[in-house]
Subunit: 321 residues, 2 copies
């Protein structure tokens, strides 16, 4: 069973549902700006997690599709606003929303996706009590994403960040949306609160592993595969866990926070981070988070969906970019 094919099979339905639930209506340019990044692709991993969990607990794709769309819209809303805040001008290989519609347009496009996500989630056909629980999960998650982004920006102004601060940031900025996707899939599928919480933990743990592995990829993946300059996190002075661990060992790569570096300087930085063990440390920690996450799937009956959720967890730390 090929993971990519199985995700694709479901993302086709997600894309069709996006077309139906977020049509380009009036004012046309606002909706074009809102749809632009959504339509630029992305792996639709979060909707896939939500749908697979729902299927695993005995529900079906069709009945949770609006919820899967809601989670994907929240993801895209955060990317649009983050790109304004971080002054990132390229996203998914295309100009960021604010580069085309200006900052004001991008703020509004994000806000529109935000409210549409809640509007669409409230339209799921299911027991009101379950939908309300999902609303609570999604709104809390959005608050935590804001907190995570705030921490991330705050870290940029600091000389030192601890490992636990880093994990809190990653948990909030990245992993809670995976966690929410899994929990919402479980709740809508009629799982008990306990099962839903175990699946929340699955999403949270693999989300943390995902982000840690992202930091590793930044060090070891050639630019032609990664789509951005290797070592760019280092040059930007980001306190990734690799940097935090290396600093703790008294190792500071010369290119840290320098804004740019020659390939040779980057090689040297990677060499010293490898030698002091920091890259391996983070890689292994990512693997242990993934394994912990996979163990949470014990609450699910064996079957193809559980198998795919295990594969998604492994994918987090086996992907090339």
């Amino acid at each position: 069973m090929m993971l990519i094919d199985e995700i694709k099979k479901r993302s086709v339905h997600v894309d069709a549902a996006i077309d139906e639930l977020l049509p380009i209506t009036s004012p046309e340019e606002l909706y074009k700006a809102s749809r632009y990044l959504v339509d630029a692709g992305g792996k639709r991993l979060r909707p896939a997690v939500l749908i697979l969990v729902a299927e695993a607990v005995g529900s079906d794709l069709k009945s949770v599709l609006p919820a899967a769309v809601a989670v994907e819209l929240v993801h895209n809303f955060t990317l649009i606003h983050d790109d304004i805040m971080d002054k990132d001008d390229i996203r998914r290989g295309r100009p960021a929303v604010h580069m085309i519609w200006g900052e004001a347009g991008a703020i509004l496009a994000g806000d529109t996706l935000y409210s549409k996500a809640f509007e669409i989630l409230s339209k799921v056909e299911n027991e009101p009590v379950r939908i309300l629980k999902c609303m609570d999960v999604l709104s809390k998650t959005c608050t935590e994403i804001c907190e995570g982004q705030w921490l991330d920006m705050d870290f940029e102004t600091r000389d030192k960040v601890t490992e636990s601060e880093y994990i809190e940031m990653v948990e909030k900025k990245t992993s809670v949306l995976y966690a929410a996707a899994a929990r919402i899939g479980a709740l809508l599928g009629g799982a008990s609160d306990e099962t839903a919480y175990a699946l929340f933990e699955y999403g949270r743990l693999i989300g943390i592993g995902f982000q840690m592995y992202d930091d590793v990829l930044d060090m070891v993946t050639p630019q032609e595969v990664l789509g951005k300059v290797r070592g760019s996190d280092l040059m930007e002075g980001k306190h990734t866990l690799i940097v935090i661990d290396a600093f703790g060992k008294g190792v500071k790569p010369a290119i840290f926070g320098k804004g740019e570096a020659t390939p040779k300087e980057t090689d040297e930085a990677v060499r010293i981070l490898t030698e002091c063990g920091s890259i391996d440390y983070v890689k292994n920690l990512a693997i242990s988070y993934i394994n912990e996450g996979k163990a949470k799937l014990d609450v699910l009956p064996d079957g193809p969906e559980k198998e795919l959720l295990l594969q998604i967890a492994d994918y987090m730390i086996s992907r090339e970019y």
Copy 2:
């Protein structure tokens, strides 16, 4: 029965509920930025409408308080993001949020209020079906507010705006939140969908009247009362209904879109807009919207709350600023 006293009596509870439901927690600066404008005051008119409607249909303040807070937070979220987009640096007599925490901080502060509003609304103790209806109302309203702000920004780039375009913009940008407040109060209070819709119409109509009267105030209120330069809408080149009506009559004040004007030039602009009848036209139209809105209150039983809702409608077109 003094309207201001009655609103104040309720806003004390709203403020206490804000303190409880949106505490300054970690990351502290994010929550300070989120609370800053909320704490700077404002008349709490929207919560008052929500609470009075709920009381009028037989519910009580306490049980709808979180919903009243949610509506106030949405209002403040829109102000924070609008001020970034419109580059307005002063709000409620204090520096705007983005002047203190930067644009990135203000984007996040707004986003946080947005998700908190939904989180808090999902916490209302009431029948799940009713709460879901309210969620649907609030999320749709937020989408419309985005559409209204987009239209408002779009109008600034245009030479001509029609009266119906103006009314659509005002309806979405300003009045739907009054409408939502009234409808949510009714729904949570257990009113029928029909009654809730009539009250939605009350809010919508008085909201439109409110904004039209705002445009009149900009022309006729001295700076020391209004808190901003008289005629500033004109100087900024805003297509208010007064301007739209005057343009239709072939009248174009010299200071329109000029960015600044002497008091004498402003007097002259007001004189010609008065003479051609445009100020009176808008004033009378505002009054007719208010009267139409008041008529919608016929669905309510007579009593002190209905009386206060009628007074709020009148206040929209009798206030000095």
